[in-house]
């Protein structure tokens, strides 16, 4: 009984705080109406006549209002629309079943059975399925991690995604004003953005940027950069490409912390078209509301948690530290505290503030209040970094299985595609028909083109066992 009563109290509180201004309006309107009715027409006209208004005063006053109104309109940030996005679907020829991955590993590392065993345990618990893809160069025994193969992979994934996006949106390459390519671990010269400009013969005054070394979170970073540029350049289109090129980064040594990425990272690419052009408002899929960035780089542990380096034998790879989960949790907490005021309803914000004040002043042992984000968003796209990451974030944000389904299923079908993963998750939500007009998504709308999910969406969601027997 008590919990039911508490539920109603909470519901009443939420309704009261979130609709406070509207509720206040009711008595005010009622009082004004009563007063006007009481006064009658003659008294109103008499009040207006006694104001002694000069034409000059009226003109000045009107101009002031217009001026203030114009300044207000001009200073509002331009709305940014996401016209559409396209996802790269790898050919099934690139697919890596667990058994093939393990067999190749054994042949490549014949003297390190413990490292091979470690990889098998990771794969069994990874949450990946049997359709994730690695680039052709990695399928060879031994792997052929040449610059040429890396370029081939980059061209295949990026150009396919861009071709798909341009045909969907019917935008021409020469209409692109801003180009941002982010790829963390492959940074050739000329850059990948130059490669795109060259292939599509884009304009010579294109504003192009190539972001590298910025990790799995780079897609929102690129979108943020595009947004800032679109504030400055009117009526422009921005093409953002988020990808990770696997070929040059396949670790061929035996250190366990560096073998982990081999097990999880897979091919993927997302091409996104953003614009501030008002005429796209009707056909755009989404509008960008907020981007929040939190940089934990000043903390040494956070700085070193994903580190590219050479192992004792001189082989280069990416080392993932054991603290990765706790650091991710910390970063999330910071990020949440920042985005909270922007998106949470007033009721949750008040509770959070009270809880914060209470912990600081009265008793530090009070449980910190975790705002309920669920009313703020209809959909969540959590980076599909690995099963452990999704589990941790689900726990931290107190989300249900349905909320993280898109993340888990993307991890199963495509693996960890790094910065493009959240776009695959968005694709999943759309393909399932769950995205409706007005929905907010962190991180009918009709989806006639389900992209890479088209041939398998009916098989999802699948049950992903805790441990898969290889």
């Amino acid at each position: 009984m008590d919990s039911v009563r508490l539920k109603y109290v909470r519901l009443g509180y939420t309704y009261l705080v979130n609709n406070f201004l509207r509720l206040l309006l009711v008595p005010i309107t009622w009082a004004s109406t009563v007063e006007i009715l009481r006064m009658g027409t003659e008294e109103i006209l008499a009040v207006l006549g006694s104001l002694h208004l000069d034409p000059i005063h009226i003109l000045f006053f009107s101009l002031l209002v217009i001026f203030i109104f114009t300044v207000y309109i001009m200073s509002k940030p331009r709305p940014i629309y996401l016209v559409d996005y396209a996802l790269y679907k790898p050919s099934p020829v690139c697919r890596v079943p667990f058994s093939t991955f393990m067999e190749h590993s054994r042949i490549i590392l014949p003297d390190n059975p413990k490292s091979v065993e470690f990889q098998m345990r990771i794969l069994e618990r990874s949450g990946l399925g049997e359709e994730t893809c690695l680039p052709p160069a990695i399928h060879y025994i031994p792997v052929e991690t040449t610059m040429e193969a890396a370029h081939e992979e980059a061209e295949a994934v990026i150009f396919t995604a861009i071709d798909d996006l341009l045909s969907k949106t019917r935008v021409k390459p020469r209409d692109i004003d801003i180009l941002i390519v982010n790829c963390s671990l492959f940074s050739p010269a000329p850059s990948l953005s130059a490669m795109v400009v060259n292939k599509y013969k884009m304009r010579s005054n294109i504003k192009s940027f190539n972001l590298s070394g910025m990790g799995c979170s780079c897609s929102p970073i690129s979108v943020d950069l595009a947004r800032k540029l679109l504030q400055v350049h009117p009526k422009s289109y921005a093409l953002v490409i988020s990808t990770e090129i696997i070929t040059p980064n396949y670790y061929q040594g035996k250190e366990r912390a560096m073998l982990l990425p081999n097990c999880l990272f897979r091919m993927g690419c997302a091409a996104i078209l953003l614009t501030n052009n008002a005429k796209e408002k009707n056909r755009a899929k989404y509008q960008l509301m907020h981007v929040v960035r939190t940089h934990k780089g000043s903390d040494d542990k956070a700085y070193r948690c994903v580190y590219q380096e050479e192992d004792p034998e001189g082989k280069c790879g990416i080392s993932l530290s054991k603290d990765l989960m706790s650091i991710a949790g910390e970063a999330l907490k910071s990020n949440i505290t920042t985005i909270g005021p922007l998106v949470l309803p007033a009721s949750e914000q008040l509770l959070f503030v009270f809880s914060l004040i209470g912990r600081k002043i009265f008793n530090p042992k009070w449980k910190p209040y975790i705002p309920d984000f669920k009313p703020a968003f209809e959909h969540f796209c959590i980076h599909a970094g690995g099963r452990a990451v999704i589990d941790q974030l689900q726990k931290n944000l107190e989300l249900s299985a349905a909320h993280v389904e898109a993340s888990r299923m993307t991890l199963h079908r495509f693996g960890n595609t790094s910065s493009s993963s959240l776009w695959y998750e968005l694709g999943y939500i759309e393909a399932k028909g769950r995205m409706k007009k007005g929905d907010r998504c962190i991180r009918s709308v009709k989806a006639p083109n389900y992209g890479p999910w088209a041939d398998c969406i009916d098989r999802y969601p699948v049950h992903i066992p805790d441990v898969v027997k290889i």
Binding site: P92, P97, E103, H104, R106, E131, I141
Partner: protein, 436 residues
């Protein structure tokens, strides 16, 4: 494991640039098990190495870029996922089965500095460079049952070399398997869906009670999980082509011109020739392997009929006509007995059939030349058998088809102890002067 380490310099000149990868089904097969029958397991120590040679006209115009090629191969393997699984042993009896986990067929890309013409002029043994020589083991879990090598020639021609574990099926199944790749390479889409219930049944109707040990089978080993036997002596191979005309002449000379029985006639001549050479130890007992009833094309099967034959007379002095009659009429079908023997201890016992006695294999009806690329089949298909016993094997294959003749005779491949192969060739030249 694959034997690449012992290549000589000459061999490297002929075939080079090997790149290894794995190919498998494009779609996830799922939790499927393929259980070989007793007859399949009887063949587990034998491997077929089949080589197809194509000229550039057959290949021209086909999009054989690596990605398109692999797409066709992956699409093909959707239907034959059992060739991409891995062997396991059942917990109770140790009986091998295949877990169809899509681990893949090993794929080898190679180049050759020779032209197709030059390859056709080389001795048969050289064709072994165009096919991988794998065996299953030492670890069952990590041994591909099949390897496929594609070698691209200098002139634009190419070859396919399939290394095949006999557990999966006989040479007729191999022909069906490879033929189904042709339309996919041409870019056609498959019209049916894969069948996920392909395990063979394990029942044999034996007409008589099983009372004796089959002569055609010999127990070896135990080999454990390494399905290979040490070659008992140095073996060598040679091939020669007999045209339809030569076969007709052979049958006429026997006096029975009504029916041309190429396999029986060829086998009789070779049997007698070997008997003549091996004075004092002539082979009285031989094994004859002929095709069984025609099976459904979607299934890979060991459908062959294995029979043994005993000659009560001196083979060396016999008339070919009598040997032909013996081969036609009196082989003792031992297939059921073989199945029975294997069934007694499927996990532990190891046997050989090819080479346990001098073995004659009738592959004349195998449709190897049905593997068509651009409307034309291969210039030449040859087949070798490994994991043999020391008595050797004689394979009677279909002859190369040309535009002129529908049935271009027979290609005979001998895999026999090196010690007497040369002598045998001289002896056979007496019968067939044109063989090289």
């Amino acid at each position: 494991m694959v034997n690449y380490n012992n290549k000589g310099e000459d061999e490297e000149r002929l075939v080079y640039g090997h790149r290894l990868s794995s190919i498998g089904p494009a779609k996830v097969t799922g939790e499927v098990i393929y259980e070989p029958s007793n007859i399949d397991l009887a063949m587990k120590l034998h491997y077929l190495r089949v080589v197809y040679l194509f000229d550039k006209e057959a290949v021209e115009g086909l999009n054989l870029s690596l990605i398109k090629l692999k797409e066709a191969l992956f699409s093909w393997l959707n239907f034959y996922y059992e060739t991409c699984g891995r062997f396991r042993r059942s917990d109770d009896t140790g009986r091998p089965y295949i877990k169809c986990n899509d681990c893949g067929m090993r794929f080898v890309e190679a180049k050759s500095s020779l032209t197709l013409e030059e390859w056709l002029n080389l001795p048969a043994n050289s064709l072994r460079l165009l096919v991988p020589h794998h065996v299953i083991g030492p670890e069952l879990n990590f041994s591909p049952p099949t390897f496929l090598q594609m070698t691209f020639f200098e002139c634009g021609g190419l070859s396919f070399g399939l290394s095949w574990t006999h557990v999966l099926g006989d040479a007729f199944s191999v022909a069906t398997f490879m033929n189904s790749l042709g339309p996919l390479l041409k870019g056609l889409q498959p019209t049916s869906s894969p069948n996920f219930h392909k395990s063979p049944s394990n029942t044999y109707n034996s007409a008589k009670a099983v009372t004796f040990d089959p002569l055609s089978m010999k127990k070896v080993g135990p080999v454990g999980d390494n399905w290979a036997i040490d070659p008992p002596c140095e073996m060598d191979s040679c091939s020669f082509h007999l045209t339809t005309q030569q076969l007709a002449q052979l049958c006429e000379s026997e006096g029975d011109s009504s029916l041309i029985q190429p396999f029986e006639s060829i086998s009789a001549v070779i049997w007698r020739a070997i008997a003549k050479i091996k004075v004092g130890s002539e082979p009285n007992v031989v094994t004859v392997i002929k095709p069984g009833p025609k099976a459904d094309d979607t299934f890979l099967r060991n459908n062959q009929v294995v029979s043994s034959l005993k000659a009560d007379f001196s083979v060396a002095k016999a008339h070919v006509r009598d040997l032909v009659a013996l081969i036609c009429n009196q082989p003792e079908d031992e297939t059921a007995q073989i199945a029975e023997q294997v069934g007694q201890d499927p996990g532990g016992s190891d046997f050989i059939i090819y080479g346990a006695n001098l073995t004659f294999v009738d592959l004349g009806g195998a449709e190897f030349y049905g593997f068509e690329l651009k409307g034309s089949g291969p210039e030449l298909v040859n087949c070798f058998v490994d994991g043999l016993g020391k008595k050797g094997v004689v394979l009677v294959l279909p002859g190369p088809k040309s535009v002129k003749h529908k049935d271009e005779g027979r290609l005979v491949t001998l895999i026999l102890p090196k010690s007497y192969l040369e002598e045998l060739k001289e002896e056979l030249k007496k019968e067939w002067p044109l063989i090289t």
